[in-house]
Structure formats: structure tokens, C-alpha cells
Symmetry: C2
Subunit: 260 residues, 2 copies
Amino acid sequence: MRKVEIVKFDLSSRKFETFEDCVAEEKPFHIFINKKHYVTILCSPSNLKELAVGHLLSEGIAKSTAEFEEIQIKAEGTCKIKLKQNVNLEERIKLFKPFSRIILSACGSTSPHQYVGKLPKITSNVQVKAEVILESARRLNAIAETFRKTGGVHIAAIYKTDGTLLAFAEDVGRHNAVDKAIGASALNKVNFAECFLTLSGRLSGDIVLKAARVKIPILASLAAAIDSGIALAKDAGLTLIGFARGKRMNIYTFPERILS
Amino acid sequence: MRKVEIVKFDLSSRKFETFEDCVAEEKPFHIFINKKHYVTILCSPSNLKELAVGHLLSEGIAKSTAEFEEIQIKAEGTCKIKLKQNVNLEERIKLFKPFSRIILSACGSTSPHQYVGKLPKITSNVQVKAEVILESARRLNAIAETFRKTGGVHIAAIYKTDGTLLAFAEDVGRHNAVDKAIGASALNKVNFAECFLTLSGRLSGDIVLKAARVKIPILASLAAAIDSGIALAKDAGLTLIGFARGKRMNIYTFPERILS
């Protein structure tokens, strides 16, 4: 978050007035794996260790935190990761990045369409009360300081099924916010099978893919679901909820995990 | 836009009810330039010619529509582009894609930070009445059918300085919506120096870069500006406006183009 001088205009008074306002920051973050540049992510420059760990887990490059040998966050937005020797990095990258260059509808890094029909099923039979989901969505705003002050970031949080907050992250990118929340939880050895994830951003295929890869059984959002997200959630056995606002929500898949 | 069956839950009645609802679609779109795969974009499957043309212009790969020899949109979301022989494609790609893999805060395809200090200045001295900007933002919702029905897409529109609507696009990605609006205007030989662009999404560096590359002098949004967007707008001489809602707006750079 950074302060900038801006000019506010109000049509009622027809006046221009100079103000100091807060804006969200965005910086490049370079991740190197086993000494090779892996990816550069534009993100909010906070919780970078969580972002790196969460990104590798949610993209299928690392299967658990046990596969990390070393994680070093350097000044100037660089992260050096060493994976355990038994991880065949080239093979995993090949598996998960089949296209040479992809631009997603709203970032991320893999094309979700190719995964329909290929995801392992989430078998968790946890159940969550509808009011716990609605409350988790309501709380996003309350805990999100940068969001309130700048309006320029996305929010993601991981909760236990009873509504206990386990991890929380803000980022200019909705994918990064999800990665940071996943990374923070993984570093704390959270069991994802007993959690749900709530976010502010839309539920596109790539967001659903991230949750499905770490086997989070329920994904809820304040915003809309996109058809690619619904297709993948159906396929992965993941409960997908959109427009969780006030007293209402839309359940796109597997409503049996939600209790009235 | 596609119809899906969903379950609505309302805490007031504690009832689950099955409904048919509209969701936004997202499909891969593969662009080939001179017979080589250039990029795959996940997008709303509409106005694909406009998207391809706008994307190449806003990313600096083509400098004007005069550089296109042929544009063929194929079934199944593929576009084959032939550029004029005098365009050195490899050189332009090198110039604009210096990193091997980049994930943006909310998609797009280039890291905007490296352009600060390197952009040609926008010298257009057009001026627009503040109420024309506010009205352009208000109209986005009115003209955006998919947005109203699904809540799952972004909107971008290009207006003449007197408020005449010139081009309009919706897409699951805010970058794609901007590209489609730019592409549609370019195909209609619009003079960008006498226009402004209004969008629903946040003003990050990569969005500002797209407008700056085609020399649109004013960029307005319903949403917030990110610091990277402000830095690039300052550098490019572009007027950047955020939170254009109701009677108010925040002007981040070059307010002299806005008349009270």
C-alpha cells in the first residue's frame, strides 16, 4: 500500500480538490527453482514465502511442503527454491504447462480446459453450515485492510469447517491471494480436506484447479462462477459456491456438503 | 453465456431451490502469426477478430492495422494472422517479451515495470467534460448484457470526447475486453488521439500500457488504480481516472484534460 497525491472531482460542487489517497502496490516477484528461473509473478509485495510455496503447490509443481529442501526469500523480490532430489521438476513442468504461452482470462498460469476429465476426485465428506459460509464471506471485508483502503486487491481466506479462520491473504491478483492463503496453510500443516476457501474474486477454471490440486473440498466466492470453473468443480468433486452475499448464495456443484 | 442448473440457498427460509441461471463462458483462443503459435488466450468466445487485432496492437506486435496482410478466424477458436513482409516479428516479440514466463496480477502478458521511462509521450491535448466521463462509466452497465446476466465479465468501451460510443466489448478477462474494444475501433479506423477508454476493471500497469501503446490519451475506470498503473500513466502522459462512479471520480494523472 502506498500513498499518492490525487485530484478528486465531484460533479455536485464541480470542484477539483487535491487529496492524499492509498493505492495498492504491484511488484514483480521472480521465483527460481533449482537455480533456474521458473516464473515471474506480478503481485502485492507481502507474504512472498507463502506465495511461492502456495503457487508451487496449487500449480502441481510440488506435491507437499515435504518436497521443499530450501526456500530463500531475497531482497528485491526474488525467491530461490531448492526441491528435494527425488522431485523430477522437468517432468512436472511438462505435465502442467503444455502450452508455450498462455494468457488467462484473469491470470494464473495453466489452461484449465485440458484438465476436465483428468482430475483425481475429492472424496472428503465434510459438511459446512450455510451460515458459516455466508459469515466467512462477510468477514473477508472486515479483515482486509488493504482492500478497504485501496479497493485495488483481492482477498482469500481458508477456514476450518466450524468457521475458524486459519489463513488470510490479500493481493492485487486473485490467483496470488489464493496461492498465499494455500501457502500459509500448508506451512502450518493444515489438513485441506477439513477446510474451505473463501475469496473475493470470480471462480474461473484456473482458480478451481488450484483448490482441487490441494484437495480443498469447498470453494466459495462473493463473485460469480465462470462456466470453466463449474466444469472443473463437477469433475473434481468440489463444492462450488458463488455470490455468497448477505443471506444468499448460489451452489453450482455438490450442494450435499452444505447444511441448511 | 450459457445456462446452467444451480441450487440457490436463502438463509431467511433455510431452503435450497433449484434454478436455471446464466454463467459467462470461457474458451481457449489460439493465435498463430505467420504459421507459428504465438499465444493462447482464455476468453469469452465472441468478437475474436477484434480480440486478435486489438491484442497485437496493444502489445506492440503490430503497429497499425495496415501491417496485417490476412486475418482468418477458424472454427474451434483459432486465428491465423499473416503480417506484412516488412514486419520483423522476432524483433518485436523480443522487444516486448523479455521474460520467459510471466504471471500478471490479473493476466495480460507483459511486465509493465520495465517500461517506466521508456514510453513515447502522449501529446494529445484533447479535453473531456467530467460529466461525459461519469456518464460513460454509468453507461457501461446499461450496455453490458452478459455482465448484467452473469456478473462474470468485464466491460470496456471507447468513446469520442463528446461521449459518442465508438466500440464496446465484454470478456471474462479485463485485458481481453480492452483488447476487443481497441481492435474494433482500429478496424473502423478510429483516431485514438481523439478518444477515451472506459472500463470496469482495475487500472494496473499492463492495462495502462495497452492504452498508451495505441496512444489513447484518457483511461477511466469504475474500479481502483494500482501503483504500477499510475507510474506508467505519469510516464506516458496519459490521464488516469479511477472510481468513476455516480458524481465522483479520482484523477491520478494529468487532470488538465478533464473540464469541470
